[in-house]
């Protein structure tokens, strides 16, 4: 067990010291019983202190229950609880609270509320105490509004009218308008008055319209996020099958001549797929992506041998930068494919990465000195139109789309190629 050695040494040294001090140096020598007592006491303390070492390496340690969070004060909530999940995108507690506070002075009423289809979400104005968030909805008219989407007006405190069971409630009339995302009705906006003269329905309807617009935008954003995830899934699913076949063929050809090498290659192939398939996040450290590229290049070099040469020119400062996953490797793969595959001579691929601390951007350049491409081919592999027809186009067009979704105008991605001279892909990403 690790840690035993140092402890043995420490205990031995301790007893040597005790003997030295109590028996040799002291005059007269300490009695044996006292010496042993003191020695045992100090040894016990030593062992207690060494506990962490005695427990040995991490893997053999018994799994401990996760420690309770270190901050003594209640930490900030990391999510909004189960309710928030069911709620439409953009209708968070802060947003609705902010919205009712904004609407109250605008809408010529005494109180304003926002509800979803079943419960109160936010309320501002008199009656706030019993119309709190999460309280049930009373007005029958609202059920009709939620069903039909037509704006309703009520006045009077009867069972069929405002419907609030609280006797002291000051609300006497209301106008209720529907909130929608597209065609779907997802809740309501209500303006109340403490007099029997109800608020103007058009005004409430206009406010509900503006809120609906906001919700639609939020919904759109969440769809966009889903789209990015889908693009990543697509890339993961379409890891070039030719690469897999080629590598398997290479391995098969070596199993007899060099079984150890073949075994190494299989392990690397497993590493490769593990990384590619397990990426759930959109971003990873450049160091991870770099390791992935190295794995890939090892596999390709097994196939191409001396014909493929890869140079890495990477500032170590780049390694800790967060980059979108599965972006660098497809660039290298593209260079290998278009450089080495059609080339009988030796091909050099260069991967260069630098950070620019002034602009806070990451520059990645992948350059090959292979055969190059003509304009139509270039256009074909970098635009998405032909992705169904040509497997080789998946990489670059997919990357282009994902970067567009992730960074919008904040990135650069360009591909230049000259027949006979090779291809250069340059990527510039903001550092997060």
């Amino acid at each position: 067990m690790r840690g035993t050695g140092p402890l043995l040494a420490a205990v031995t040294a301790l007893w040597a010291a005790i003997v030295l001090v109590s028996q040799v140096l002291a005059e007269p020598p300490l009695s044996p019983v006292a010496t042993i007592l003191v020695g045992v006491l100090i040894t016990d303390l030593l062992i207690l202190g060494y506990g962490s070492t005695l427990r040995g390496p991490r893997q053999t340690r018994r799994p401990r229950r996760p420690r309770s969070p270190p901050p003594s004060r209640s930490p900030r909530p990391e999510d909004e609880g189960p309710d928030a999940q069911a709620r439409p995108e953009g209708l968070t507690d802060e947003v609705v609270d902010h919205a009712v506070a904004l609407l109250l002075p605008l809408l010529d009423g005494d109180a304003v509320s926002i509800t979803d289809r079943h419960r109160m979400l936010a309320f501002a104005g008199p009656g706030r105490d019993h119309h709190a968030r999460g309280s049930p909805l009373y007005a029958r008219t609202r059920d009709a509004v939620l069903r039909t989407g037509r704006t309703g007006v009520v006045w009077g405190r009867g069972e069929d009218l405002i419907g609030c069971p609280e006797p002291g409630c000051p609300l006497r009339s209301a106008a209720i308008a529907a909130l929608r995302i597209g065609e779907e009705i997802i809740g309501s906006v209500t303006v109340y008055r403490t007099s029997d003269d109800p608020p103007r329905a058009e005004l409430v309807e206009a406010a509900a319209g503006i809120l609906s617009l906001h919700l639609e935008v939020a919904e759109l954003e969440s769809r966009q996020r889903l789209a990015i995830d889908a693009e990543l899934d697509a890339l993961r699913a379409q890891i070039n099958p030719h690469f897999l076949f080629n590598t398997l063929n290479t391995i098969a050809s070596r199993i007899r001549t060099d079984p150890e090498d073949a075994r190494q290659l299989l392990v690397r192939l497993a590493d490769f797929f593990r990384y590619a398939i397990r990426q759930r996040e959109q971003f990873a450290g450049f160091s991870q992506e770099y390791a992935f590229v190295r794995t890939y290049v090892t596999l390709e070099q097994a196939r191409f041998g001396d014909r493929l040469h890869v140079e890495y020119d990477i500032d170590p400062a780049v390694l800790s930068v967060e980059v979108p996953v599965l972006v660098i490797q497809p660039l290298v793969e593209n260079a290998v494919k278009h450089g080495a595959s059609g080339n009988v001579g030796r091909t050099t691929v260069r991967l260069r990465a630098r950070v620019d601390p002034l602009a806070r951007v990451l520059d990645v350049t992948v350059r090959d000195d292979g055969v190059g491409m003509d304009e139509p081919t270039l256009a074909a592999i970098t635009t998405s139109e032909r992705r169904q027809e040509q497997e080789s186009s998946v990489g670059l067009s997919n990357i282009r789309e994902r970067l567009e979704l992730l960074f919008g105008a904040h990135h650069e991605f360009d591909v230049r190629s000259t027949i006979g001279e090779g291809t250069t892909v340059h990527l510039r990403l903001p550092m997060r």
């Binding site: 160091s287 390791a291 890495y312 390694l319 800790s320 620019d356 601390p357």
Partner: protein, 554 residues
């Protein structure tokens, strides 16, 4: 002033070209792999880069000058600059890297989850950078004065040096050169270390012995030049005449303590040095890097101390040479900052001086570059892109950052021009090192407490952090201004604390953070941030990845 001859100009030019050409060399794959793996090659490269950012004119010219002027009391600068990395090693390096971000303000903003903290930190960072730039400009002025000795367009030689270095470095940074890549900075440091070792080797081969030199220098009372007069330095500890080999030539008891505390606390708050910690591969690698930094910087400073002592003896021995007579009064240098340059010429004639000057400029250029980049990044990205105009285009922060470079370097040059070294030399015998102390005091008072408490105290809140940063900066700036305006005596008592205020300002800042955080109902750290900062899962994953890469690195 001694002039420039063709040989020394040629040597200067060749070295400058060589260093810049070498800096363009590519990082080899193996270096990156070892870097990733946290192995020695990578760790040492990063440590060299940190030293390249850290060692400035203050270290190169200033430490030798301080030792030359005040003997053992000057050694405090060497000790303090190197010891500043001890708190970094023990308390800061690994958690800083593990939480990961791009700059010190960014780190604090993530830790406290607040843009106000970011803004407060940026204010402190810009102040530190400005006060750190001034001594670099003074250093380039003094070097120009000695090496070229002539002004351009009616300016004095000192002013010419400042203008040339400011225009050159800020121009290069703005246009887009000098990105301070790891390899580049490490090389700059390697050059500095090589020059110092070379000087030491020349000394030793000439039969030099450090103990003998100290003995020889301590034989007579320590002297200094004030104006054109030679005066005896008073011993601030025991009274009477001070000697080279005994403490007290410069600081009384309070002064000694204030200086050391200020230097030790300052390093953890230097933005351009701390920014580089984010490039370490893992928390463990960041810690290993710091150990190397302490070793490398420690040996550099030890040699600088020796060279300063050697200069004391050699200048006194050879003061009758005509070129040296112009620089000295009665065998004592008028400007102690000239010590290392003069030593270069004493040991290897004018080419020797040119080599030392090239090293001094390399030190200044790498540090100024690092400082300007940190200034522009924290203004452009932490202020403009995150707070002022979050929706702006991608070019906006870059333009703002360039403007910040221009403003900061102009301000520093102006201050350096206003500061007339010859007037301040009476109060501050080694001016550059003293001015750098002010920057360390600001960093140690405003930033170090919030970094330490932010990392180690989960209950520290955003309001507490803002209050602590502002309180620390205000106390430090106030103390320095009061001290400079009233012309306080920096050697002991109140004056020492006013001119090295971290001794008082850092505890005030820490206390403010604690009190405000206790009163603040706001939340402390989130579990996610705390886990990322102190957990080691990422380190282990990095190691696994590195093993995978190295295995296939054929």
């Amino acid at each position: 002033m001694s002039g420039l001859d063709t040989t020394s100009l040629a040597v200067f030019g060749v070295i400058a070209t060589l260093v810049s050409v070498l800096a363009w060399r590519h990082t080899r794959a193996t270096t990156v792999d070892f870097f990733l793996a946290g192995r020695r090659v990578g760790v040492v490269t990063n440590a060299g880069a940190i030293c390249g950012d850290y060692l400035s004119a203050a270290s190169f010219l200033g430490v030798a000058a301080a030792v030359y002027a005040s003997g053992v009391d000057g050694v405090w600068y060497a000790t303090g600059f190197a010891a500043g990395f001890v708190p970094v090693l023990l308390f800061v390096a690994a958690p800083l890297r593990r939480l990961g971000s791009v700059s010190l303000p960014d780190f604090l903003a993530v830790r406290f989850g607040s843009d106000r903290v970011r803004l407060a930190a940026v204010i402190a960072v810009e102040l530190v950078i400005l006060s750190y730039l001034v001594p670099q400009a003074v250093g380039s002025g003094l070097t120009w004065e000695l090496l070229v000795g002539e002004g351009i367009a009616g300016l004095s030689p000192y002013a010419t040096g400042i203008v040339v270095s400011t225009v050159a470095v800020s121009g290069i940074v703005i246009i887009g050169g000098m990105r301070g890549t790891t390899w580049n900075q490490a090389l700059q440091f390697g050059f500095l270390l090589a020059v110092v070792i070379w000087l030491a080797a020349l000394l030793w081969s000439g039969g030099f012995s450090y103990p003998l030199a100290v003995e020889q220098a301590s034989a007579a009372p320590l002297q200094a030049v004030v104006g054109d007069e030679i005066v005896e330095v008073v011993d601030r500890l025991d009274g009477g005449a001070a000697t080279f080999g005994e403490p007290g030539a410069r600081y009384g008891p309070v002064g000694q303590l204030a200086l050391l505390v200020t230097l030790v606390l300052g390093t953890a708050g230097l933005p351009h040095v701390m920014n580089r910690y984010f490039t370490a591969a893992s928390g463990a690698a960041a810690r290993a890097t710091t150990v190397w930094v302490i070793g490398l910087a420690g040996s550099f400073y030890a040699l600088a101390v020796m060279l300063g002592s050697a200069t004391r003896v050699l200048v006194a021995e050879r003061a009758d040479e005509p070129w040296l007579a112009a620089l000295t009064v009665d065998g004592v240098l008028r400007v102690p900052e000239h010590a290392l340059l003069v030593l270069g010429r004493l040991l290897a004639n004018t080419p020797g001086m040119a080599i030392v000057a090239a090293a001094a400029f390399a030190a200044m250029v790498s540090t100024i570059g690092g400082l300007l980049l940190a200034a522009s990044a924290s203004f452009g990205h932490d202020v403009v892109a995150r707070i002022l105009r979050p929706g702006g285009g991608p070019r906006e922060p870059v333009r703002a950052g360039r403007a910040a470079v221009l403003v900061v370097s102009l301000a520093a040059a102006l201050v350096a021009l206003v500061v007339e070294p010859s007037q301040l030399l009476a109060t501050f015998p080694s001016l550059i090192a003293t001015m750098v102390t002010w920057a360390f005091a600001l960093a140690g008072s405003a930033l170090t407490p919030v970094v330490l408490l932010g990392i180690w105290w989960p209950d520290a809140t955003a309001r507490g952090a803002v209050a602590g940063v502002l309180a620390g900066a205000a106390v430090a700036v106030g103390a320095l201004l009061v001290g400079l305006v009233t012309g306080a005596d920096p050697s002991d008592g109140i004056g020492a604390i006013l001119l090295a205020p971290a001794l008082v300002a850092a505890p005030i800042s820490g206390l403010t953070i604690v009190v405000v955080s206790r009163l603040d109902p706001g939340p402390g750290v989130t579990v996610a941030v705390w886990t990322r900062m102190h957990g080691t899962a990422h380190d282990r994953q990095t190691e696994r990845l590195a093993r995978m890469t190295l295995r296939g690195g054929r």
